[in-house]
């Protein structure tokens, strides 16, 4: 009898921990709205939606890597090289073919990542960490090499009118920006993919216990190559949305995207140990990361102080994840 209320309290704590990020988002919105009424303006909403763009695509891709029990630090390099190559190709083959080529390049780079890992026998997150870090250096240096280190400005550089890029940059369809619609499309497709398809499930098994999945007949090597390819593709989508936003694209444009993407995924509640999490959680995580920087900007928090807060939240999220695991 005396156990009942304690169990209830435990359940409440579990629920709170599980959806902590939602509570934090709500609290953040309320506090910021009170302190700074500009937060709720239409202009700020449009602003938020725009910021949602590039990071959200990268984070969606990263979700599958982390659910599969791996990690990808090559994101900054991939963003840089995809952005620079795509822009360079616009005048040669036209805007849409260039974007298509960019997406293929992203997927190919991801494929190279996954294959390299499997050839190197890297079956742990730690090994993946170092190898993809190395790959990132390669991609970024290639991007610098290809462009000679010069920034590109699609607004003035090309004769091409760039209609698609303009639409991605500032186009609206109904109440939402076009890039947000693109995001919703990918979210839906990836959500269905993860929860309903055999391959999507196989990713979860691989992340849950690589050895058991392998012995249970799951083609884990192919799964790993696939998640890196998928991540590369999503990174390419993010890169295209990114250069549409910033008119001047420098070859180091992707810097810190890996950190923010991993942070969004983990803060959303996807476990770094693999096997647990989904894209919807990542949406919550991305929302929190973006809301947080928006709120801190509105409240006039210094940039360096913002970085401290970001780092602290990442550490906190990982700590909470460990606690959840420890208690089972």
């Amino acid at each position: 009898m005396t156990k009942q209320p304690r169990m209830g309290r435990q359940a409440a704590v579990d629920f709170l921990m599980e959806y902590l990020v939602l509570f934090v988002i709500v609290a953040l919105v309320i506090v910021t709205a009170i302190v700074e009424p500009r937060f709720l303006s239409a202009q700020n909403f449009t602003n938020l939606m725009r910021q949602f763009g590039p990071l959200s695509f990268v984070a969606l891709g990263m979700t599958f890597i982390i659910v599969g029990g791996f990690i990808d630090l090559s994101v900054p390099g991939m963003i840089s090289i995809v952005a620079m190559v795509t822009l360079s190709l616009v005048d040669v083959i036209g805007e849409l073919p260039a974007m298509f080529a960019g997406l293929v390049l992203g997927a190919a780079l991801g494929f190279v990542n996954g294959t390299t890992l499997m050839l190197a026998g890297a079956n742990t997150q730690a090994k993946a960490l170092f190898i993809t870090f190395g790959m990132s250096q390669i991609y970024r240096s290639l991007a610098l090499h290809l462009t000679g280190g010069f920034p590109m400005n699609w607004g003035t550089l090309f004769e091409h009118p760039m209609p698609v890029t303009r639409a991605l940059s500032s186009g609206m369809w109904g109440p939402l920006s076009i890039s947000f619609w693109v995001f919703l499309f990918f979210l839906l497709v990836l959500y269905i993919f993860q929860s309903k398809t055999a391959l999507g499930r196989a990713i979860t098994y691989t992340g849950g216990n690589l050895t058991a999945a392998e012995l249970g007949g799951i083609p884990t090597k192919r799964v790993v190559v696939f998640i890196y390819t998928l991540c590369g593709f999503m990174v390419a989508v993010g890169a295209i949305v990114l250069f549409s936003r910033v008119s001047v694209t420098v070859p180091t444009v992707g810097t810190f995207f890996e950190r923010d993407a991993i942070m969004a995924v983990v803060v959303g509640g996807t476990s770094l140990t693999g096997g647990r999490g989904n894209v919807l959680r990542t949406v919550m995580g991305v929302s929190l990361v973006i809301l947080m920087s928006n709120c801190m900007n509105l409240l006039g928090v210094q940039t360096h102080a913002q970085e401290v807060v970001r780092g602290a939240i990442l550490v906190l999220a990982i700590w909470l994840d460990h606690r959840r695991h420890a208690r089972g």
């Binding site: 098994y205 058991a212 012995l215 799951i218 096997g275």
Partner: protein, 491 residues
């Protein structure tokens, strides 16, 4: 009793781990300057006892007196400093440091600098007749040389008692001879040795006294001269085979699998046949190569040479999926690490291998998924509140049933069970035996590996003994005695 020459006295020591009684009222008396053998089957409790002595585990109750001092909760370093060293089978050396640095690891300050370390290390190695350069990296040493380093390390603490856990497992015959000579010398110097081994030949050659442990209990301690090999085996396996097993099926038909050769780094020219409806038992010590054989057949490990015919057709097996396609299933040795995804549900674990079979155009059929889970939960009576219960909350037996269910759904021609009943309670064990019997009676073939000899003998139609990477014999468990079989397995 005269206690003056007793170096170690263990009285009524008990130790339990969650769910397992590892030691029950263990009593051992070890006399100064003797070589004291400790034998017992895998899991009998030898290691637990040694780990209590060396301070890795703490005892639940009982008294230990070492060298006249009563030992309470000790730590590994305290126990080494008090003169009790243990040399583990897999050694405890830092590969990236030199021999000298390893011998005096953690004692650099008290040794007054590197020069002294190497000088003292040299003296110690000389004293045991070893010529290893003290500046050599441990990673460059052979197993025998590493053992010398470990022994020197033990002597550097002026150890009075050295425990050697399976010291011969990685030595060649010549190296073993040298080790025996060295142990003889140490004994003359008054150092006491506890020698743990499976290999009865070594025990008879080397030891003065032997203690036999079984099921966490000390069965007997006797001077070696008063024991015969057969008596020792009888005491080691001990258990009477009672009615804890169902009657074995006799359903063996024609050959289904013909293993022509398996060669790996460890396995040498493995060749055997498996019949349809047969239960084939593998008997051997842990590390003899039993698990390696079945893992090679299933494609879990790479083999140098693998020639297998299934139903008269040559099969190529390079990974577990090939194995599955060829009609082989494997229930792995360690169900928690290799079998299950612990944080996932019963359903997710049961359907894992059927994932693509119940998918159309890549989409998983959710109703079939549920159907499979419910069917297996029912037919195996898996005790779980719902198919969505996480497997990590289940008992060992029910966890094992989840993996069994996964394979029954695939229904492979050949099902390999590696330690299917390890750590499972008696009742569930019986259910698993019945299940094995049912599989065989329905025409399935089973290879069963178990460290529990009575279990394999009671369930199998035929038994192969495996010793040091080879098949050392083939027996009929219904006519051949447990002694003969164990003898062949020990080699």
């Amino acid at each position: 009793m005269d206690n003056s020459d007793v170096i170690l006295s263990v009285q009524n020591v008990n130790k339990s781990f969650p769910g397992v009684r590892a030691l029950t009222d263990a009593c051992i008396t070890v006399r100064k300057g003797t070589v004291h053998g400790v034998v017992g089957e895998n899991g009998a409790g030898k290691s637990t006892l040694m780990k209590i002595l060396s301070g890795v585990h703490t005892k639940d109750s009982g008294t230990i007196v070492f060298d006249g001092q009563t030992v309470e909760n000790t730590t590994p370093i305290q126990s080494i400093r008090s003169g009790l060293s243990i040399i583990y089978q897999e050694f405890n050396l830092v590969n990236t440091l030199t021999v000298g640095e390893n011998i005096f690891l953690g004692r650099y300050a008290e040794m007054n600098g590197m020069r002294n370390i190497h000088k003292n290390a040299r003296e110690l190695l000389d004293s045991i007749g070893s010529k290893i350069d003290t500046h050599k990296m441990v990673s460059d040493l052979s197993a025998a040389e590493k053992q010398m380093v470990e022994i020197s390390k033990a002597l550097s603490f002026n150890s009075k008692l050295i425990i050697m856990d399976e010291p011969s497992s990685s030595l060649t015959a010549d190296e073993l001879k040298q080790l025996f000579v060295l142990i003889g010398d140490l004994r003359k110097k008054g150092v006491t040795i506890i020698y743990i081994s499976h290999k009865l030949d070594e025990i008879f050659e080397l030891c003065d006294t032997v203690t036999i442990i079984r099921d966490g209990k000390v069965i007997d301690t006797k001077p070696i001269a008063e024991l015969t090999r057969n008596e020792m085996i009888a005491k080691m396996i001990g258990r009477e085979i009672e009615n804890e097993y169902p009657e074995r099926p006799h359903a063996a038909g024609e050959t289904i699998m013909n293993v022509e050769t398996i060669n790996t780094r460890k396995l040498k020219n493995i060749a055997f046949e498996l019949k349809k409806g047969e239960i084939l038992g593998f008997v051997g010590l842990v590390g003899a190569g039993r698990t390696e054989i079945v893992r090679a057949i299933y494609g879990a490990d790479k083999a140098k040479e693998l020639k297998i015919l299934i139903n008269g057709r040559k099969v190529k097996i390079k990974n577990p999926r090939d194995g599955m396609r060829a009609g082989v299933g494997l229930l792995p040795e360690d169900r928690k690490l290799e079998g299950l995804v612990l944080p996932f549900s019963v359903q997710a674990n049961v359907i894992m291998s059927s994932l693509w079979r119940i998918s159309k155009f890549g989409f998983v059929n959710a109703s079939k998924e549920k159907e499979i889970a419910e069917r297996q939960i029912k037919s195996l009576s898996i005790k779980a509140p719902s198919p969505h219960t996480k497997v990590k909350t289940l008992s060992g037996g029910n966890q094992q049933k989840c993996i069994m269910g996964r394979w029954l759904e695939i229904n492979p021609d050949i099902l390999i069970l590696d330690e299917p009943t390890r750590g499972i309670d008696v009742g569930t064990k019986y259910e698993i035996y019945l299940l094995i019997k049912r599989i065989a009676e329905n025409g399935g073939s089973v290879i069963m590996i178990s460290s529990e000899l009575p279990e394999v003998l009671a369930m199998s139609n035929r038994v192969l003994t495996i010793c040091e990477g080879r098949i050392s014999g083939e027996f009929n468990p219904e006519t051949d005695s447990a002694h003969t079989i164990m003898d062949a397995a020990i080699g």
